[in-house]
Structure formats: C-alpha cells, structure tokens
Symmetry: C3
Subunit: 348 residues, 3 copies
Amino acid sequence: MTQDIHVNLGELIRTFGGELIGGADVVISGVATLASAGPNDIAFLSNAKYRSLLPDTRAGAVILGVQDQDATPLPRIITSNPYAYMAKVSAFFHPVARPEPGIDSTAVVEATATIASDASIGPHAVIAKHASIGARVVIGAGCYVGADVEIGADTFLYPGVVIYAACKLGARGILHSGVVIGADGFGIAQEHGHWHKVPQVGRVVIGDDVEIGANTTVDRGALEDTVIEDGVKLDNQIQVAHNVRIGAHTAIAGCVGIAGSTTIGKHCMIGGAAMILGHLSIADGTTISTGTMVTKTIDEPGTYTAMWAAMPHREWLKGVAQLRRMDELMRRLRELEEKIQALERKSS
Amino acid sequence: MTQDIHVNLGELIRTFGGELIGGADVVISGVATLASAGPNDIAFLSNAKYRSLLPDTRAGAVILGVQDQDATPLPRIITSNPYAYMAKVSAFFHPVARPEPGIDSTAVVEATATIASDASIGPHAVIAKHASIGARVVIGAGCYVGADVEIGADTFLYPGVVIYAACKLGARGILHSGVVIGADGFGIAQEHGHWHKVPQVGRVVIGDDVEIGANTTVDRGALEDTVIEDGVKLDNQIQVAHNVRIGAHTAIAGCVGIAGSTTIGKHCMIGGAAMILGHLSIADGTTISTGTMVTKTIDEPGTYTAMWAAMPHREWLKGVAQLRRMDELMRRLRELEEKIQALERKSS
Amino acid sequence: MTQDIHVNLGELIRTFGGELIGGADVVISGVATLASAGPNDIAFLSNAKYRSLLPDTRAGAVILGVQDQDATPLPRIITSNPYAYMAKVSAFFHPVARPEPGIDSTAVVEATATIASDASIGPHAVIAKHASIGARVVIGAGCYVGADVEIGADTFLYPGVVIYAACKLGARGILHSGVVIGADGFGIAQEHGHWHKVPQVGRVVIGDDVEIGANTTVDRGALEDTVIEDGVKLDNQIQVAHNVRIGAHTAIAGCVGIAGSTTIGKHCMIGGAAMILGHLSIADGTTISTGTMVTKTIDEPGTYTAMWAAMPHREWLKGVAQLRRMDELMRRLRELEEKIQALERKSS
C-alpha cells in the first residue's frame, strides 16, 4: 500500500480548488491525521473535537474550514468543506488498485455468460448462465454471480460476495466481502400452525455508485423488486428486507435493519443500529438517530430519535423503577388535587 | 425467472380450495400485487393497509378474505386466509429450479463422504470426511460441509454456506448464503484477567422444513447440542448462541440475537432486532415485539414489548430530561402532601 | 468428535490444581453438565441457577467452588474458579484437531507468498502476493488472504474467512467462518448532496490469542490502523468500525456495534447487542450491560446500563403513555404548589 505520488500545494489548489495561504511550493506525498502527520503530509481539521491537536501537528500543511483559517501559521488550504476536500486529496494519493483483466484459470464461467474483455474474474469465482459482466468489472476470489445477473461497468466485488439469480447492479459499485444480494425475503404465511413459504420472485435492482459494506444483506422482492437507487452508501451488517426502496444518495450506518416494503427517501442519513419497521415511508432528507426505532411513516424531514444513553447501573435501575411508579404518582397527585379543592372551599 | 404456466380459476379452486365468485374460465398466469397486476394476474388483499388499491387494480382476479368478499366486482376467490392462499398459488406458478444432479468437477469431495446419486454438488464446494448428503440435496457453489455432517433429503444450500463438523440438518431445509452453522459458541472463562477458551464440543441439530436467512449464525453447543426444531423459520442476520433450543414452527425476524442456553417455545413469533438474554425460557405461543429485549423467563404466552418509537429529536430530549426529573418531582410531591396534611389539621 | 482419553481425579489434581475430596482413583473420560453427566463424566457447578440439579446428577465427580464444597457427597474437586477449571479439563479431553500440513492442490497461492512448511492451506483457499503465513497456521477451505497480509504462528482460520490486503494477525488466533477483516471503513464525505468515498488506507492489526466469532467484521482504518490487542475475545456478528482500538483481554458478546475511532479499554466486558458511538473512549475494566447504548466517554470503570426489559404489551403501552403525560403532570404539580402557598398564606 505504498505509493510514490508527490505534488505541491499549488498544484493541489489548481486540481481541487480552495484558497491557499502560504507555501505554494510545499511538496506533499500523503494525507494524515493531525496527530500522526509528518512534514510531507497534509493533515485536516473537520471535527471540532480534534482542534486542540492543531498547535502540535508536524504536518507540512493543513486543510481547514473558513472559520479556522487563522488557527495555524502552517501552510493551509481553506475550503468550505474540509472533509470532502480531504477525501478527494486522499483518493488522488491512493488510486484504487485493480487486478489485471482476464479470467482466472480456476474460475468457473458458464458458456452463456457475457464477460467484458477487460473485466477481471478472480480465482474460484463462479459466473452462472446468461450473467453479464460489464467493462472493467472486478469479480473477487470466490464470488458467486447467479444466472441472468447484470453487473454494470467498473463495479468491484471483493472476495466472497454472492449475487443471487436475476439481480441487477449498476456501474461503479463497490460490494465488500460477505455481502449477499438477492437471497429470499422473509415471506411466510401461517396456516394451521405451520408456515408456508411465499416464493420470492422479485429481484434486487441496484443503481450506480452504490457501496455496500461487509456482510450486509439485501433480500430480493416477493413479487416486485427491492430497489437501491443511485449513490446510496450502506455500511456493514445492514439488513435490507424484501421490497424495500432506498432513495438516491441516502447513507446508512452499520447494523441497521429495514423491514419489508418500507420506502426510505433520498438524501436521508440513518444512524447505526437504527431499526425501521415495515410498510412505512420516510421523507426525503430525514435523519434517524443512532439506535432509534422508527415505527410510523415520517412525512416531515427532520431528525428523529428514540435512544437511551448508558448511565451507571444503579442510577439506571432507579430511573426505571421511578417510571414504574408513575401510576402511584398520578394517583397521589389526584388525591392532593381533591384535598386542596376541599381546603379551598372551606377557606373561601 | 420467466415461466409459462397457465391455469383458469376453476382449476385453482379445485387444487387449492376456497370459494369462487365469478369467472371460472378466467385464465391466470401469475400472482401480482394489486398495484402492479395485469389482466392475466391474480392479485390478493391480506393487509388492510392496501384495501384502497382494490378499486383501481387491473388484476384478472383477486384473492380475498371472507370479510372483503363484496369489495370488488372482479372474479375472486374467497378464503379464510388470503395470504396463505396466495403463497400456495405463487408456489404453483414458481416451482423451485434445482440444478442438475451430479458433482461438479471442481468440487472437492472426500472419498469417505456419502453423496446421494441425485444430489447436486456445485462448483468449488467442499465435502469433508464421512459427511452424508441425502437425496436430491443441493450444495451450492463454494459451500463447505464439515466432517461427519448429515444433511437430510431435499435440503438446499445456496452458495457460500458453511456447516462445521458433526452438525445435523433435517430434510427440506433451505439455508441461504453466508449462513454459518456450528461455529464455536462464545464460551470463555476468566482467570487472573485472561480468558480461557471453553471447548465447544456439542453439535447443532436442525429439524425438518427449517429455513435460515442469509448471514445468520447458529453456534454449536458447549457440551450438549444447540437445537432448532422442525418448521422453524429464521430470517437474515440472526445470531443463535450455544445451547439454545428453538421450538417447532417458531418464526424469528431479522437481526435478532438469542443468548446462550435459552429455550424458546413452539409457535412463537419474535420481531426483528429483538434480543433474548441467556439461560431463560419462553412459553409456547409467545409473541415478542420488534426491538424488544427479554430479560426474564416468560411463563405465560402473550405479547411482550419494550420498544421506544422515534419522535422528533427535540421532543425526545424533553421526554428524557423529564424522566431524569422524576427524583425532583417525587420530592415536591412529598412536600405538598405534608403541607396539605398540616393545613388539613389546622382547618379541622 | 469422539475421543479416548481417560484420567483419574488424582491425576487431574496434579495437572490442574484444586483440592480433591474423595475418589482419587475415580476414572473420568469427559466433561458434562450436571443434568446429562454419567458415571465417567466430571460435571461442574459455576452458575447458582443450576444448584438444584446437584442432588440428582449421575456424574462420577463434580467441580465445585469453595462455598459449595459440602453440597454433594460425590467425589469432587474444590477450586476458587470452577468455570475456568472446567474449561481446562474440557480442553484436556478435547484437543483441537488440526488438518495435515500442506497446501491443497486446489488452493491458489501466489509465488511471492511465504507459507510455513507446517502450515495447512485448505481446498480452494487463495493466498495473494507477498502474504506471509506462519508456522502451523491453518487456512480453511475457501479462505481469502490478501496481498501483504501477515498471519502469526498457530492461528486458525475456519472456512470462508476473508482478510483484506496488508492486515496483520497475531499468533494463536481463531477466526470463525464468515469473518471479514479489513474491509473499507464507512468513510464518506458529503458535497452538494452526493457522497465522496474517503479512501481507507489504514490496516487492521490484531494481537495474539484473539478469537473472532462467525460473521464478525473489523474494518480497516481510514488513515491509521484499527487495532485489536492481545487476548481480546469477540463473539459472532460484531461490527468494529474503522480506527477503533480494543484493549487487551476485553470480551465482547454477539451483535455489538462499535462506531469509528472509539477506544475501548483493557479488561472490559461488553454485553450482547450493546452499541458504542464513535470518537469516545471507555475506561479499562468497564462493564457495559446487554443492549446498552454508550453515547459518551466513560472515564470511571463500573457497570453502565440503559436497557428496558420486556413486559406484557398493554403494561408497556401504559408506561409509555404515562411518560408522555409528564408535561401535564409537571403543570398540575406547579398549580398545586401555588394553591397551597395561597392557602398557607390565608391560614397563617
């Protein structure tokens, strides 16, 4: 993971914009945190929590927001969005390494599958019948691509991804190891105490520029499709049930569960371990706090929360006990109100 | 996933029962939702939430509950359980596609393993020593079946399932990709600040007709077995710890965790993301609400809940703050009670 | 999983310590629970919940704590820590079976990888360029070991583990199936409503004696490393985000999520399904209760909790409704206080 890319601050500004204060000739060869940067690194400040590290940083330069532009005498790039700026500079220093094109001799590729000549199919990968693999796609070692699957150009599957039959992935996607796309949704119908399986015959359809974290699962639809729109970012170990739709450019942190037939709007942000019940919808631009359960449709964007913070065990028990005393409390309050009424009557 | 099965409503009734109103000759070639059905589809109404779609459906026929039998003039099948009826009709239109029998040339099968002649072992699958694979079983690409594992007839493992040594699967099971059966339970014993591993030498024993969703894990027992009884349905990303027993025909939604040595009864329903602590038992027929933590044995069936619903962030903070003021509130209430007693004494 | 190891109680005492009461010549060939033990088994009592099983056990001997030393007339070993003692005796009876050394003919090993001569590389495993596999390491079937990965001596990867490039594993580790080490952390920067990927160029560095449960994911660092120190034990389906540090000998139960850049101290215990927010730190020796969300740095060790226990659905709804009436309650309390003040003034 070493690289040998060098650039001076003047060139960075010309490529990525921003305002330079000092040091156009300072040469940078990497991005680092304020705490660990050396003289050839550019550091950045995007979370106020780390501002106290600024005076002691050994960085050669720093990326700062407008409000912090005078917070250091170091050469610095001022931008309205230091974190996005850092992302772009870091991507410049760390171009993604793609394996050589070609089909590994141990891969099993059905004759009816279509593989772009510049795609890369890793060792022990399996490409089933009539699958279609686009230009420059990377299929990692041991991946399984089911029958009739379509994968758009430049999409990258890390080792061990499974795509069930008939699902569709857009261009420029990234799927991490352990991701399972298109397994059957949890459709079961009870009769006389037993469960009948409801066939899951929809697909999963995923747009362009979607990233999906390790061990996340997206189930195929029961009758219609499960849909993930363009630009969606899913972290690890998320469960997306059948017939869910996730709107474009929504980001969802790890361990979230989304129950069936729910529609999540565009540009939403959903905190880790949140749970969204089924058959409801969430407005575009909504934020759901970490660990929060959503039980009803949300029509108005805003931030929604239901989250209890850890406290010392004894205090928590006391709080819980008091909640259980609410009944008694209401009763005592009512009695007082009656007694006071009686006293007021007497004294008037 | 196309199919070419056609049937008229009269034949459906003869096969699956129910009462037909109108249109015995209407030919149906698929099942669809009310919203998307066309004239060759049969739609269904099983969730009252979707009743408003009935007047506008373009379906050729509809499956309805008795209470809705006059809710549309369309040809319709009346049944006490529209969802189960739909499941059966959909299964009729979508028979499961099983791969050809035989052992793929890239599979690694130990000489001492027993493979039914009509079983199908996919590419890159590994079958370890003394494993036994029953009639018509499908082992998907890249699956690992450990030593001494037994798999009953007609069970279907999607690509990438791992079964550790000595575990036992019943007949007609379905295990989705990423499922891990029989990994070591979390048995650790602390001594002088370090952890000793407790060997996990029990097995996982799974009954007939069990379906297990993608990336769900079921740990082997510490000394005795972890047991999943017949007809249990597990959704995705569920964690079943060592020595758990799940009773027959219980259904568990996604992201649930069940801690060690807990026994869950038969015919229970457990909502998504529920958490069940260890060493307790849950009565047959119990329902646990979504996101609910169970901390004690449940002897009486019923519905059990502990779940906070998301609300606008500011309202939530206010509610939490008030709970923290319970102490103060109780104190003020006590003071009032004393003062009133004093006043009452005076005025009497 | 049968074994043929026999030992008498006198020998056990000489090997593992403890005080023997009676029966030095009693021969034992296995460990079992009180309920299932037979005359050749040694049982144990480490959880008071099971004390009632002691009178009826058919065990040949029992491991007991000092406080229980007279609780049975059976031959017994008295120790300050019966559970750890049982762990050691059970490990004695169940030595780990390791496959034969050597590289399976179906494994794909890059020429530049270094494999210890006594390591075992399973079928369909893939070892990428410049990876280094230590003495007696076991790489299970279908595992993927990325470029430049280092794996210390005696570490055991069960089938289907994925290690991304450049990560480092210590000695004597155990990684269960479905574990993904080193996938990209969830680093995304928003700009004009779209997300830019922040390259994740740190590694995952794991110490010695670490066990990681099935389908657990540990993301690589964004710029610096994600670190898991020596002796850490992680259960199944845990999500460890980028740049987290987990201190030595900490144990974490299943389904826990730890958000980015959080530092967890040494010797902590974290209950199942707990969630720890990002950019905070937890003191050495802290216990977090099951299902608890940690939202702030914890400086003082102790037990921290935020967990609601399931109750009958109707009671729960009533409790929640009352919490929503806190506003009204406070208002009524204030009115009473004013009225009483007025009455007091009058009556004085």
